[in-house]
Structure formats: structure tokens, C-alpha cells
Amino acid sequence: MEKSSLELRDIAFSYGPVRALQGVTVRIEEGACGLLGPNGAGKSTLLRILLGFLRPDGGEGQVLGHDIRKDAFGIRRLVGYMPEDDCFLPGMDAVTFTAYFGELAGMPRQEAMKRAHDVLYYVGLGEARYRLLETYSAGMKQRLKLAQALVHDPKLLFLDEPTANLDPQGRVEILDLIKDISSKKDIRVLISSHILTDIEVTCAAVVILNQGRVAAQGDLAALRQIDYSLYELRIKGEKEPYLQALGRARCRVQETEDGLLKVYLPAAFDRRELFRLAAGLGVQIRHFVKSRTSLEDFFAKTVGVD
């Protein structure tokens, strides 16, 4: 098996005068990877290019060893795609639907039917597999989309907003499935999502796009540590002067409803300075814990939003 799931070098693409992607160089290894970015960042365009719907204006790339310019069919045979929108064919049951798309991927008819039963059980639709798709709930439709993406046993899955429109329980179940697929089933996963916690839960690596360029990429744990560290504080005394002093020291502070202060320290900031500032203002620090930087924090900082 190829070591890298996909590798893109200097990919550029324009919709007429609008530059959607420029200089995108990405390498994604095994496991699950999150594709993040604000609206208009180029995520969808990148997916279109990876699936072979669009030919890039410049650059080159491979998905599982297949050239994105020359071998779109080779890529689509190895890739499963779960779109964001509700997608189904009316008048069909889940088994027929899933087997149908297996057959379209190139599976023999009988094999596709047998496999459809297996994957529907896997995604938790075993009992409902003969029901008409029109009667499915939003959560069931999400699972069905995952089943059709898995039916031909792809090596790589593209999941576009896999937890959209799901209730909390359904979301947890889908995320469990994705974790299971990426960690135990030897299937690589690329998840495009706006829900950053979904990416945190399922992915070890992340690619962040912003304005058509790669803003950051790499191992999630390492990226969190790059520029700053996060501490949680509880203080006693005059809060406002202390917050102002932190602001002057270029620390970003968030206050939670229960009075917890989340303080983001710049890269070269000495944490002992927090105590010096507090002592100077007569403020007591009653609680001091180093916290993990969330992906949300990192994302906000990377794409320049609050």
C-alpha cells in the first residue's frame, strides 16, 4: 500500500478570474486527517480536484499513487465519497441502493449485494435495510451515505461534513464509526468538517485552508503546541486591572461563565510573569493549571478570526 494517502504539489485552480486555490502543497499520511477552513477557503474545490471532477490549472498530485490529472477513474475506484447533502434514490431500499453503487464502482452484482448487507450491518442499519429510503431519519441517511461509500471497500474515504444534521447521540455514533474505520480497518479518511470538535475527536492530522492557500498542516498535537500555551486561572481580587495587564503583555484571555480565566501565552512568554503581574496588583492566583490548546483556538489563530 502507498505510504501517503495523497500528495499534492503546488496545486492552483481558478474559477474564471477568481483564484480558488494557489500553491497548495499537501501530504497526507495514513490514518484520519481533517480538512478545515472557513467558507470559500477552497475545501470543496480541493475535493473536486481529488475526485477528478476538476483539472487543476497548475501543479501535480497523486491520490494513492494515481495521478489526479490522468487517472480519475483509478482514484474513484479506490476512494469512497460521503457527500454532505442528503443523497438517495427514491423508491429504493437500503440494500438495493448500496448494492447499486457497489455495482457502479465495478463490483460483480452478486458480490455487491452480499457486501451491501455486510456494510449496512456495520453502520447500524441492518434492521432497517429493507425499508424505503424516503422513510429514513436524518441520522439513518448519514449512515446510509457512509455505507455506500464503504461498499466497494475503498482504501481512502472522503467524508464531507459527516455529522451534519445529527442529534448528539447520532453524532457520537458516527464519530465512533469513523474512528473505528480509520484506526482499526486500515482505511484512510479525509474529513472535511466545520465542526472542529469532530476533527479533534477523530483525526490525528489536519490541513487548514484559508483563502485558497494552506494555512497550516501536520500532526494535530504538534500544531497545538507551536505558538502559544494555554493556562487556566482562578483569581481573587480586582479582576479588571489584572486582565488589562495581561492584555498589555499580549496575552489573550477568555473568561468562562463560572469565572475561569483561559489565558493564552505568546510563544516566548514566561509563565512566571503571570504571578509577577498578579503580585504587583495585589491579586491572588488560587488556581493555576496548564491546559490543552483546543483545535478551535488554533483554527481561530490560523485563519485570523476570533
Binding site: 442528503d86 443523497c87 434514490l89 457502479l104 465495478g106 453502520v123 466497494h152 455514533e173
Partner: protein, 289 residues
């Protein structure tokens, strides 16, 4: 048991890279059509002319036995190109073919558009050509069932009942004409239906449009012909153009005093327009927002 623990087994088969991907699409289209309400009834109604004309073939060979029944209708029981023209260009058959198109074809693309299914198709190793071929074959299957199959049946029955090949010796072009016309009308109606289906995301609107375009064109012909008495207005009518070309294919007398080539040009132009609409509306690059 948590769903993630229910197991996932890798498939050890190999994907067929030299397959014909339009086949499953066509097969599914045919299956789904049979599941629609009234479809079997409509198909049965569309086969009525076949039964009647098949009986006609039998009677034509036993004309003396049925003299009492047929009286002055003997001219209609001579199996010749005119007889085939009356079968293929009858308002009744064309009407039921249209209804079959509505039931089996109106939703073929509009349902895919409405339910965002195109992105699932084109995420597979599937070209637009394969997708459209599959959809076209679905419709062509039903249309050929109503045209080519009866035509072959009539010729075979004629040979069997007459006990000779005299019919084929007299009209050697008839088998080719039957096949040619069946393919032409199946191709035209399939493109016509699919193009209209691709124009709307709502199957009902597509159904209305398929019927309306067909009948309104004929109504306009009727109005203009009534006013100006000029048979060239037949070119406005889809049905009249089909009847003209059917007569030409079968080597029979045309219905209207208009060169059949004009009608053929109109129909081919409409089919070309339909093909253009299809290529514009079914686009792989727009499948992901």
C-alpha cells in the same frame, strides 16, 4: 452492541475495470418503473394495438372465414406497408408510448437532481456518457418493447400463418423499416423525455412538461391548419412529424402533403436540442458544492 464493534470485513474481490457501467443504471431504471403505480396497467394498454393487429394478421390469412365479420373492412386487413403505418403511426400507440415515457422517464434525471444523487454517481468510475446511456436505455427498452417487438412478431406471424415467405419477397425492406423506425422513435422519445426530465428537479413538473409539449404542439398545428389550410403547419406538431417519418420509413403514403424530409429535420433538430440540454444539465463538475 455498539455499532463499531459489529465488525467490518475487507472485500477480497477485484473491481471490474472493463465493464459497461450503463447496464446497472438501465436495469435499475426498468425495475423502478415496474414498481410505479399503474405502470403495468399502462403497459398493458399500450400492448392492446399489438394484440389487435396480431389478430389482424391471422384474419388476413383466413379472410374467407371471417367474411361475415369484416364486411367492407377487407382493405384494412391486407398486411402491407400501409398496414404497418396504421400500426406505428396510430394516435393510440403514440399516446400510450407518451404515457409510458411519463411514468418511466419523467423522474429518471429529475429525481437524481432533486435528491442530489448525481454526486454519488460521478464519485464512481462513471462518465457522463455512461450515465446518460443507462438512462436512455431504460426508456429505449420500453419503447422498443412497444415497437420493435410487435413489428418482428407481425412479420413472424405473417410468415407462419401464410406458410410462405411471399410477404418478405414482396416487401423485402419491411424488416429493416420496422427496425429503423423503432430505433428512430425510441431514440427520439428517449432523448425528448430525458431532456425534459433534466430541466426540473420535480418529477411532476417534468411529467406535465412532457405531455404539454407533445399535445400543445399538436393543438397549435390544429389551430393554424384550421385557419390557413396549409399542411406545412404539420411541422409544428411532434405527433404529425412522427407520423410523417413513420410513413416514410415504411415506404407508405405520408399523412400530409409535406415532404417527409422536413419532418425528419424537425425531429432530428429537436433530438439534437435535447442532447445539448442533457449535456448542459448533467455536469460532473457541479456535483459538489
Amino acid at each position: 452492541m455498539p455499532i463499531a464493534e459489529q465488525g467490518y470485513v475487507h472485500w477480497d474481490g477485484r473491481l471490474d475495470v472493463h465493464r459497461r457501467p450503463w447496464r446497472p443504471i438501465a436495469r435499475l431504471g426498468i425495475r423502478l418503473a415496474f414498481r410505479r403505480k399503474f405502470f403495468k396497467f399502462v403497459l398493458g394498454m399500450a400492448f392492446l394495438p399489438t394484440l389487435v393487429f396480431a389478430a389482424g394478421v391471422y384474419i388476413s390469412e383466413r379472410i374467407d372465414d371471417f367474411q361475415e365479420m369484416i364486411r367492407n373492412a377487407g382493405e384494412f386487413l391486407v398486411v402491407n406497408p400501409e398496414w404497418f403505418k396504421h400500426f406505428y403511426a396510430s394516435d393510440y400507440l403514440l399516446f400510450w408510448m407518451l404515457i409510458i415515457m411519463v411514468l418511466a422517464g419523467a423522474g429518471l434525471i429529475s429525481d437524481d437532481l432533486r435528491h442530489n444523487a448525481l454526486q454519488l454517481y460521478f464519485a464512481r468510475p462513471l462518465r457522463k456518457k455512461d450515465y446518460l446511456q443507462g438512462k436512455l436505455f431504460t426508456l429505449a427498452f420500453f419503447l422498443l418493447l412497444l415497437t420493435l417487438l410487435p413489428g418482428i412478431l407481425f412479420i413472424l406471424l405473417k410468415i407462419i400463418f401464410s406458410g410462405s415467405f411471399a410477404f418478405l419477397a414482396e416487401y423485402p425492406w419491411i424488416p429493416a423499416s420496422v427496425a429503423g423506425w423503432s430505433l428512430f422513435v425510441a431514440g427520439f422519445f428517449s432523448l425528448y423525455t430525458l431532456a425534459i426530465s433534466s430541466l426540473s428537479r420535480n418529477r411532476r413538473y417534468a411529467s406535465i412538461l412532457i405531455i404539454a409539449a407533445y399535445f400543445l404542439s399538436d393543438i397549435f398545428f390544429g389551430i393554424f391548419f384550421g385557419i390557413f389550410r396549409d399542411p406545412h403547419f404539420a411541422l409544428l406538431s411532434i405527433k404529425s412529424n412522427l407520423q410523417q417519418v413513420a410513413a416514410a420509413f415504411l415506404g407508405a403514403k405520408p399523412f400530409f402533403d409535406v415532404p417527409w424530409e422536413y419532418s425528419a429535420v424537425v425531429l432530428v433538430a429537436l433530438a439534437g436540442l435535447a442532447a445539448y440540454v442533457l449535456t448542459r444539465r448533467v455536469r460532473g463538475t457541479e456535483v459538489i458544492r
